[in-house]
């Protein structure tokens, strides 16, 4: 309570008590007068003492912590709290979005993992528990007690959380200023389990750039906070500050200080309301050109490196120079496969030679989720000049949108944009007789625009997601890149030759020469899952769990290959295989733990196979599904494909 407020409080109390005191003084008995005087003095002293203590505690609480990043307004940023009063519905829909909770302070409410004393074993032991409202990790990790680690100790306070939807990462005070350290595991929210860091990525080893120390202060904060300022200084005592944790209003609308100040004037507000003029003190991405609107999203949703070293140094001290409405390429160098690498990208490539293939398919299409800016710009739709992220996505749920907020928040798609409407908005003529275009029944998944033109080939968060580069199914692309074509992603039980023939018959697409006999004779889903590289195996295994795929391709042939993938060296592949097995009726009861020790997983595979072998095989037998004349699995061909597995190193830099 500020001093002025205290003064007014005391004055009001005094004014209210005066008539009573006057009455007592003039009319009350002598003893009562003395008691009233003494009581009054005691009450005044008590009030003064309480007020002083209260003020001291307020001052203490107001001091920002020194051991973690903090929120500091500045550079014209005022935080989402300033927006709420005038834009309550937009503020509420933002709060409902996962953007708002991307970075949170660690509290018993924000942390989804059970900190109940359980021990997580990931390389070392980590005991997670609560001490009051504090969340603590205790570890036998010798790295926590090495001499060069600031404040060596076996207990660390968890102070920050990344994620709120799929999974969470927990960050602890590192002791070097506001630098954070990362616990070496994720908490997978839907699965209610911890998973080692590398298990959640499509990876066997995590590249150095994803290291545990200072990664939040240097990298995560760029996209998971608003107006981040890493404050590296001399690297011994980081002073990381942000305008707001999470991706808040000002990430997309720009700094709001001028907007707030100018719109305190009601005359200005009513002038804007009544004339419909745009308010130039704030950015509304919907009123930007498609290119500039995309740039707002591209700040985070792109494959990028700093434009140059000076930009990187400026960012460290002052935060991003990019503001919504500006050109992103003045801040980032947006990386396009095939372009001459910039000096900073060359430095990255020297440290991480696989940096490009970790993010792009060989033909330059983005292969990870969260980098859709590159994909959208590479799409033919973008060339029209009006196609932007906001063509399909709505960052605020409209009041008349009947969907539950959680459903909208899942992909932040505008109402109706999950289906064909997203495309028919421009391609209306195709909607008149969709079957004529698709050669599939109008109500089947084969007639859904996104199934063919945005197939599930991007990887991230342990699942495949839609590629945002609008494309048409192409066998030739699969032959040159390994990326499964949209037809076979649904018709997984068919060969590439079958697909090439249909594309030729229906669309006149020139059939490419398919030199590899296996690609002519074996179903593409089997080939990708058994013989592909880890990304191809993961995408094939995950897609087998889709209802559309199971309905189109059947599931009987999937069981031997999915059970085999429980032994895959990549945790992410095993995760997808286990999920897809669970989706097949009758197989969910098996112990399909993708992180279990190898003997347990081998036992699970054998149990699945035993159940499958005991069931009758659907007729007729099909050679392209590696079945012999009786419908049994042709072991020799199966093993031969398995031995040909592409074991090159794979990582997806999501």
């Amino acid at each position: 309570m500020p001093a002025a407020e205290l003064l007014v409080f005391a004055a009001l109390l005094l004014a209210a008590c005066l008539p009573l005191a006057r009455w007592l003084w003039t009319r009350g008995p002598r003893a009562a007068r003395r008691s009233a005087l003494a009581g009054g003095a005691v009450a005044v002293a008590a009030c003064a003492g309480l007020a002083a203590a209260y003020q001291r505690s307020e001052l203490r609480a107001a001091e920002p912590p020194e051991s973690r990043p903090i929120e500091v307004r500045g550079d014209g940023y005022v935080s989402s709290k300033a927006c709420q009063a005038c834009h309550p519905d937009q503020h509420a829909s933002w709060r409902n979005s996962y953007h708002s909770r991307m970075t949170q302070l660690a509290t018993p409410e924000s942390v989804r993992a059970p900190f109940d004393g359980r021990v997580v074993e990931v390389g070392h032991s980590y005991k997670l528990f609560r001490r009051g409202d504090e969340l603590i990790a205790q570890s036998d990790d010798p790295g926590w007690r090495e001499a060069d680690v600031p404040e060596p100790r076996d207990e660390r306070r968890i102070v920050m959380v990344t994620g709120s939807h799929h999974q969470q990462i927990y960050w602890y005070e590192f002791g070097r200023g506001r630098q954070l350290g990362r616990l070496p595991f994720f908490y997978r929210i839907a699965e209610q389990r911890f998973a080692p860091f590398h298990s959640v990525f499509l990876a066997q080893e995590i590249p150095v750039e994803f290291g545990a120390q200072a990664i939040w202060n240097s990298t995560c904060l760029r996209c998971h906070t608003t107006d981040p300022r890493p404050g590296f200084g001399d690297f011994t005592k980081m002073d990381t500050k942000v305008a707001e944790f999470g991706i808040a209003c000002e990430s997309c609308h720009g700094p709001g200080a001028e907007h707030v100040a100018k719109n305190r004037n009601p005359l200005r507000r009513y002038w804007l309301h009544l004339t419909g003029q745009r308010d130039d003190t704030i950015v509304n991405p919907r009123r930007l050109s498609a290119a500039r609107a995309n740039d707002v999203c591209g700040l985070c949703h792109s494959v990028h490196v700093f434009k140059d070293m000076q930009t990187a140094l400026d960012f460290s001290e002052h935060g991003p120079s990019f503001r919504p409405g500006g050109e992103i390429e003045k801040f980032w160098n947006i990386v396009h496969a095939g372009d001459e690498p910039s000096p900073i990208l060359q430095r990255n490539l020297a440290k991480e030679p696989h940096w490009m293939e970790d993010r792009f398919w060989p033909d330059g299409m983005v292969n990870v989720v969260g980098r859709e800016y590159n994909a959208v710009k590479a799409s033919p739709c973008y060339r029209g000049g009006e196609f932007s992220c906001l063509s399909c996505h709505a960052l605020h749920q409209r009041a008349n949108d009947p969907r539950p907020p959680q459903e909208w928040a899942d992909d932040q798609l505008a109402a109706g944009m999950r289906g064909d409407e997203a495309c028919l908005h421009c391609h209306a003529a195709l909607g008149d007789d969709v079957s004529q275009h698709t050669h599939h029944a109008a109500d089947s998944s084969g007639s859904r625009c996104q199934e063919c033109h945005m197939p599930m080939t991007a990887w991230g968060l342990l699942k495949a997601s839609r590629s945002h580069q609008i494309s048409s199914p192409s066998v030739a692309s699969e032959l040159s890149t390994g990326r499964m074509n949209a037809c076979n992603l649904c018709h997984m039980d068919r060969t590439l030759a079958w697909t090439a023939e249909h594309l030729s018959d229906w669309y006149g697409t020139k059939s490419p020469a398919i030199a590899d006999p296996a690609q002519r004779e074996v179903a593409d889903g089997l080939l990708q899952a058994l013989r592909g590289d880890a990304a191809e195996r993961a995408i094939a295994a995950w897609n087998m769990g889709r209802e559309e795929v199971r309905g189109t391709s059947g599931t009987d042939w999937m069981l031997p290959v999915l059970s085999q993938l429980l032994l895959d060296p990549y945790d992410a592949v095993r995760h997808g295989a286990a999920d897809s097995l669970r989706a097949i009726p009758g197989y969910a009861a098996h112990d399909l733990d993708y992180l279990a020790a190898e003997p347990s997983r081998r036992a699970a595979r054998d149990a699945v196979l035993a159940q499958w072998q005991a069931e009758p095989r659907p007729a007729p037998a099909r050679a392209e599904l590696l079945q012999d004349a009786q419908g049994a699995l042709d072991r020799d061909r199966f093993e031969k494909l398995l031995r040909a597995r592409d074991d090159r190193r794979v990582f997806r830099g999501e």
Binding site: P88, R269, H273
Partner: protein, 147 residues
Amino acid sequence: MPSDLVRRHLRLGWWTLLVFLTLGLVLEALQGFKIGFYMDLANATRRHVWTLAHTHGTLLGLVNLAFAMSLKLFGDGRESWAGLASAALVGATILLPGGFLLGGVVVYAGDPGLGVLLVPVGGALLVVAVFLTARGFSSRARRDGAS
């Protein structure tokens, strides 16, 4: 004249009470049936100003009755200030809740419609009416005390 004023404010007070208590029922119904036009977060401003219309209207109805009863019980027929106070109170009774009500018909994000501009005018009239009444009865009390 005072008896005319008393009748005017008794009529106005009771009818105002009826109108704005009924508005209260309407608002409760809008709330009860979760009508989006009133309940959606985007319409928070409408909800706010209409609630203010209900409370101010009801309160002003009571003020009108109190004004009438004061004149009836304590007036002596010589209150020269009462005519102006009455006119100001009538204006306030119309403009204050009416402005809030009108301001909620069209809203602009966090701002009510232009009708809300009537509110400060009504507020000023109410201040004038209360000031004149307070001063009038104070003078009367001093006169009574002196005699």
